[in-house]
Every structure is written in C-alpha cells, then in structure tokens.
Amino acid sequence: MEAELRGKAHRYGKNVDTDVIIPGKYCNIIDPVELGKHALEGLDPEFSKAVRAGDVIVAETNFGCGSSREVAPIAIKGAGVSAVVAKSFARIFYRNALNIGLPIFESEEAVDGIASGDEVTIEPATGTIRNVTKGTSYRAAAFPPFMQQLIDAGGLQPYVERRLAERA
C-alpha cells in the first residue's frame, strides 16, 4: 500500500454528483490529465487551477452520486488529488474509485474537523487521517474484508487475472 498521502484540503458539501465532477460534454475524453483539467468544473470552476499534487477532497455525504462514468474518479485522480475523504460515497463511485486506485476514506469526524485549506495527511494502511493545521487526528472506517483484499491485491485487475489463471 502507498506511503503517506499529504496535501491541502478542498472542502465541499453533500451530494457532489458526477455531472459536476466531470460534465457530460467532457465524457468523450479518456486521457486522465486532460480530464483532470475539468475536474469539479461544474461545482468549482477554480478547482483545477487551485489544486496541487497530493491535495485531498473533503466532502459531506453521498459523494459521487449520479452516473456510472468512471471518468469521474479518473478526472479527480488526473487533477493530482491523492484521496477523497467523505461522510459517505454513492455506490458506483465507491467501486470505481477503488477499481482505478483513487484512495477514498469514510469518516464523519474527519470531514467535520477539516476546513478548506487545512494541511492533511492520510496513512492509507491504518486509515489514520491527520489535520496537521489543527493538530487533530481521526480514524476512517475500515474497508469490508473483501474490499480490503481487493485493495491489497492492487485493485480489481490483478484479482481478475488470478480468476482467469485459476480457470486456465
């Protein structure tokens, strides 16, 4: 698993949907960096200019609701974001994020304890989220065992390769 993640927090509200994460008109783009230039454009047109590599998106409940477009987490990752911390995630976004290797963490307290601009570090292995600016620390919800296995295996693709090898 990756080393510690570190960056500034960009704080948003609830129900950040896939249409604002990457508007439909850009869904014919596949290149992650190009997509990243339009990440969150529908919600915060300044985001792609403000974001720096390593930064963390912090949001309320139901992050990523709406469409199944995998370009949504790809755009966020392409913009340089190292992780998303939210109170909860929409189902398809959750799956997609883990599949493409965008680290996501669920923690009510962390979201309540982090403001825009705060410096945040995250230890993926333990789910420890620290607000360096305020000197506070939080714990993300543990992944269900099956998801943790997928993450440890390096995502869905290695898992599929193993299943294929078992059959061969």
Binding site: C27, I30, S67, S68, E70, I92, N96, L156, V160, E161
Partner: protein, 428 residues
Amino acid sequence: MGMTLTEKILARHAGLRSVEPGQIINANVDLVLANELSAAVAIGVFRSIKGAHGVFDRERIALVEDHFVPAKDAQSAKLAKLMKDFAEEQKITHFFDVGRGGIEHVVLPEEGLVAPGELIVGGDSHTCTYGAFGAFATGMGSTDIAAAFALGEVWLKVPASIKLVYNGRMGRGVYAKDVMLKTVGTLGIDGATYRAIEYTGTMVDDLSITGRITMANMAIEAGAKNGIFKADAKTIAYVKERTDRAFTVEESDADAVYERTIEIDVDALEPQVAFPHLPENVHPISDATREPLKVDQVFIGSCTNGYIEDLRVVASILKGKRIASNLRVVVNPGSQKVYMQAADEGILSTLVQAGCAVNTPGCGACFGGHMGTLGDGERCVSTTNRNYVGRMGSPKAEVYLASPATCAASALAGRIADPREALELVGA
C-alpha cells in the same frame, strides 16, 4: 427464512441455495452492456488484463452507440470507432451502430436481450431499467465491465431490499413518471443507496411495461443498486414475442425480509415536478404553476420517457396546435423502432407540424451531450431522469423533470403547465 426476488436471482447466479444481505458473491452474468463512452475505457482495461484473450461469450455482450452519435466531433467519432472495431474484432453479435439501435436501455428490451430472472450488468447507471422485466440489473464503471467482459462474472454485495407498495389508481394526467418522481422525493437521492427497491402493489399490477420501465429506470435516482418488479403475464408475453430463450420467473417469498416497507397512495397524487438541481427536489405541479415559470426548451426523450407510449401522449396534446412562440421543443425518440412506429402512426408529422425539432434516436441533450444543450440562464422542462447542476449543459441552466404530458402541456403554454388542463381540451 424466505428470500426476496433480488436475493433469489443473485443466489441462483452464484450457484448458492441462499444468500443474505451484506454477503459478497461471485455471480455469473447473462448479459454485459456498454455504450461508446463506458466501452472506450473498458476496452483499454480489457486489453491490459493478462490472460484475457477474448470476451467470455460474444453473444452475451451488447454494445450500443448512443451518447455522442451521430458523432458530434472528431473525438466522439474516435470513441464510436473504438467500440465498433472492438465489436468487429471480438465478433460481438449484439452491436448497434447509430441508425440501427438507439438508446441502449430502450434497445435491449426491444431486441429480446432482457428476460425475467436474468442478471445483467452495464457500463451505465441506468442499467437498472431492466428490473422492469423481473431481472436483476445494475450499473457499474468501466473497469468492472472490462472484468465482466473477460470473466462473465462479477462480484456483488447482496443488497437489502426496500419494499415499495403502491396502492390505488393514477388519476387523469398522472403517469408512472409522476409516481416515480414522488418516490424519489420520498426516499431522497441517497435513500436507497446500496439497496434493492422492489416495486409492488395494485397500481403496479395495472401498470404497462413502459410505465414499469420508467420506474425501474429511476431507481438509481434514489441511489439504489437495482429496482425490480415481479414478472407477470404482461412481462412474459412481451419477452416471448422477442426471444425464444428459456428464462426463470422468480418471486419474493411470503416471509422474505425487507429492511423497510413504504406505502405510497397514488389515488390523490397530482402530477409531480422535480425542481432544480436535485431529482429529489420534487413538488406537486401546483407549486410550479403558481408563479409562471417561463420555459426556453422542452426536451422529450431519454431511456426514462423516450418510448412510443410517451410520444403518443405528447402527440395527443400537440395535435393540430403550435408550440408557444418563445420556446423550442426537442424530441429524441428512444430507438429506431420507436421512431419507425411514430412515423407509421403519424406522430412524427404531428410533432413537426406543431413546431418540434425531431432528432435521430439517441441520448442527445439528456446528459448535455449535443443536439439541445442548454445555455446560461436557460430553463428546460424535460422528460429525463436527472437535473443536477450542468446536467444538460451550462451550470447556469435550470432543469425541471416531469412527465411527457406535463412537458407537452408546457410546450403549448410557454411555461410549466398542468397537463390535466391540456388533456381536458383534447378530451383525452
């Protein structure tokens, strides 16, 4: 302990006698769907999977060009071609190019590719539409779809079920769309996250196949993993007209366990409208007519309401009239078959004579793709399923969701209007 319809389908596809909510299973899929946008990413992943030499079954994959076709620009043409080339290379049986298909979720049932008891996954969130036929169907992202292309199976967490019981009869001017908007308003956009919605009750038994499609389609708007109806005689007749494939009709056990049961009485339900910018922001039509809400565009189409039944309602209201002079009406029939039938029934001429712009079947303006994208400050009333900020174009535009009848009545009035008055005038 009994099982729900959803649990039974999942258990059978996982080769298990029973399953329970929260359990992770590996399930065989009957069909894997993708459109040119989800396929473009999925094909890239598929090619990088070591050991994946070909798709698991070329007859159990459906690829539909619908989002940006006829290609709106060179980049869109590239994605369309990528999927077409893949279909050719893998000899995919069910490939639908523009002009031969339409919107994926309209096309698949029409082509007999969906049957009761089946398990279908698709690279599109509205894959849940096929729950209308008593199938388990859910949307996934491209990496999951690539995995399904290779393996013919997916991992799934068994969802708990929420039972919705609809009592009574819909009054005049009230349609399945209104009932579903009311449902999304009641549950909230994350009210059914990670859950199955099971639609039951006397109203559901009376509902047409198209009405069930409209309701299953918007299960995702409440965050649900799937929405499902029990297949009945109507479903079986519809499916048997389109395929000879054997299928298994399942139903929930009498002692099946539901996380929640919600009753909705439709007798007194008014037409409903979802206000900007959330599908849960649902109000009765009276809230939308109190102050005139001037409309710039009316959109008729999508996998929610792009069916012949919908176009018939619109045509019955617009027949012999002209749409208001200060707005435009954009119509995208859901599929080539719907388009042909609308031509045969004279609906297309009615629409064009009324002043509507009729596009070729496809998603079009529904997701702000092309052919009816909204500009800053514009207001649209639409038969589609989502009205998030920027969904149909500019983040400064407003989208109101409503039934085809409400949209047609609004087209005549130039502002959001109650369809019951318009229907009275045409004696429908």
